[in-house]
Symmetry: C2
Subunit: 353 residues, 2 copies
């Protein structure tokens, strides 16, 4: 299975058609499709069009709400809470980021906690929307119905991996940090299970509290878990991060594990800051540029490549996507093509390579 490249508008049209045939309101399908293609353009192919085959059953089962609006629970101008009503995460996040950018422009900073969103996808694609406009954008997300990571010192899965990201203006292109509070993610665990491979390092914990490279411990009885960042020897640091993300996304939004939700949901915290409301954009870029340059000039570990700043690889992928088309892994295309066949949507041809 080779990886082909496609025209971005053709991919967007395909994703949009698939989602609207799957029942999603056309204006929402259009927004979700745009973000999915942007994600593939950044080279994050795990969270781009590859999500469509996951979203379609969610629409069918009505776990993803197909139309309607979110509820504004509180609007305090600088701080806000929304109830997302399990609408598509990309649709909610576009409005969330644009609202926070507008408020940050007025007040210097703004934050919004969202309860009950559906999946918000690739965080870098979202923070980049604000960073490209010159703002600092922090996003954290958790699923209060999910249990994958044990608290440090414990053995029972309790927290989600709890992704967080921050994007901010940099030299040439934004810095796009996109990480989580556990060493690895649920999708990586599934990938290793599906391919029958172990992790290169002991990133899992079995139910007896032993670190292991075996991803299948999450399906054992009793269940094992994913280790927090720092692993066995300093996992209290990842656990702390995980607690912080659950507090920001659940305690501040007023909905979470205390409500024992059984439906998959994404709780979100978004914060946007305007450098001009602090020390000013020029000095901000001067500091970021100096630090980034010093990092890139740092003598690499022998045998390793040059030091990269988070966002460098995404920027290179975006440049390549513009000139050569957007890369689709063969495995993703096979799954998307199956959905297209089922829904009677025609597939675009790859661009000439």
């Amino acid at each position: 299975m080779t990886d082909d490249r496609f025209d971005r508008d053709a991919l967007k049209g395909l994703a949009s058609s698939l989602l609207s045939r799957g029942g999603l309101a056309p204006e929402m399908a259009e927004v979700v499709a745009e973000f999915l293609v942007q994600t593939d353009e950044l080279g994050v192919t795990t969270h781009g069009l590859s999500m469509v085959p996951y979203y379609l059953p969610e629409l069918k089962s009505r776990n993803m709400t197909a139309s309607g609006a979110h509820e504004v629970v509180r609007d305090n101008r600088v701080t806000m809470v929304w109830d997302g009503n399990y609408l598509p995460g990309h649709w909610l996040m576009k409005q969330a980021i644009d609202t926070c950018v507008e408020r940050a422009g007025e007040f210097g900073m703004a934050a919004l906690a969202i309860r009950r969103s559906h999946h918000i996808g690739c965080l870098s694609t979202l923070t980049r929307r604000a960073a490209d406009k010159g703002f600092v954008c922090y996003i954290a997300t958790s699923d209060p119905s999910g249990q994958w990571v044990a608290p440090y010192g414990g053995t029972e899965p309790l927290l989600t991996p709890n992704p967080w990201a921050i994007g901010y203006p940099g030299d040439g292109h934004p810095v796009l940090i996109d990480t989580c509070a556990s060493i690895t993610t649920v999708s990586k665990v599934r990938e290793h299970i599906n391919t029958g491979t172990r992790f290169a390092h002991p990133w899992m914990l079995d139910a007896n509290g032993q670190a292991t490279t075996d991803p299948t411990v999450v399906n054992a009885t009793p269940k094992g878990s994913i280790l927090p960042v720092g692993g066995v020897d300093h996992g209290h640091k990842g656990f702390a991060m995980g607690l912080m993300v659950e507090m920001l996304t659940q305690a501040l939004s007023g909905q979470g594990r205390a409500d024992a939700p059984t439906r998959w949901g994404g709780n979100v915290f978004v914060q946007v800051m305007d450098p001009d409301a602090f020390g000013g954009r020029e000095d901000f870029l001067r500091q970021v540029g100096t630090l980034n340059a010093a990092c890139r000039a740092n003598r690499p570990i022998p045998g390793g490549g040059a030091v990269r700043i988070p966002g460098d690889r995404a920027f290179e992928a975006a440049v390549r996507s513009r000139s050569a088309g957007v890369r689709m892994p063969g495995e993703v295309w096979t799954r998307v093509a199956a959905c297209a066949a089922e829904l009677g949507v025609s597939l675009p041809e790859p661009v000439a390579g």
Copy 2:
């Protein structure tokens, strides 16, 4: 050398006398002394009165400014920048937190970036000040003149350990997360060098990019470094955290590595949020309480103790300090006593044990 316990007011009087005899303005000495004793009360004896023997030479060399005021560089109501003029960090942080708490009460949230503070001490003692009043408080700090941690993939020390902390209301007592972007800290490295011991895990990186337990690599030529959180196999996560802290504290404050400062300095970012300006205090506590209880009830790793929430140990130490007096490690008392002898300040007697 045994550890004695002392009356908190006696310790505060001692620290205050020492600092004012050392040249610090009396009203500043009083505030710094109060925070140092609060730190010892929480059991963080590395950052309590033990700092006095470090601060006195800083006052003498005028690296710590002994009087005067900070400069308000920008006051945008919700966002602020101060120039700390290298005043004592505790003095600045008391005002910083109280200002942010007041503004968060008015606007829902507020943030302040400080350039050129002196050492701000134990972050938990500071975040607790806001958390005890019902607010969420995040603090991050870096030293733009310091180089201890290499960027992930590199070998040359460039970043500081970049501590960050978040405190927020919890069930019974606040959650007090206090950590940093590197696996270990400069003071732990010095402690291991002084005692001629190695780390239990490979938390250092030599100049050739090899992980090691040897703390002395920081003094080698060329210099080794402290590994970021995640170490060799997932240190890109700690590196990302470190970049974020430097951005918040230096880029937002408009002063940092681009100015190549040679004087030790603490750049700070403080943010305070009011749960009542989001989903409300009651729901906030309900979520935090449920998660904390679930963590503490998690089946421990065989042979290990019960899972603790960050802040649990500090709370127990504070209760013990109130009933039995504040514990002073013998090694700290020896150093403090030497300062007292030099400055002609009398030492309090321990409380009856």
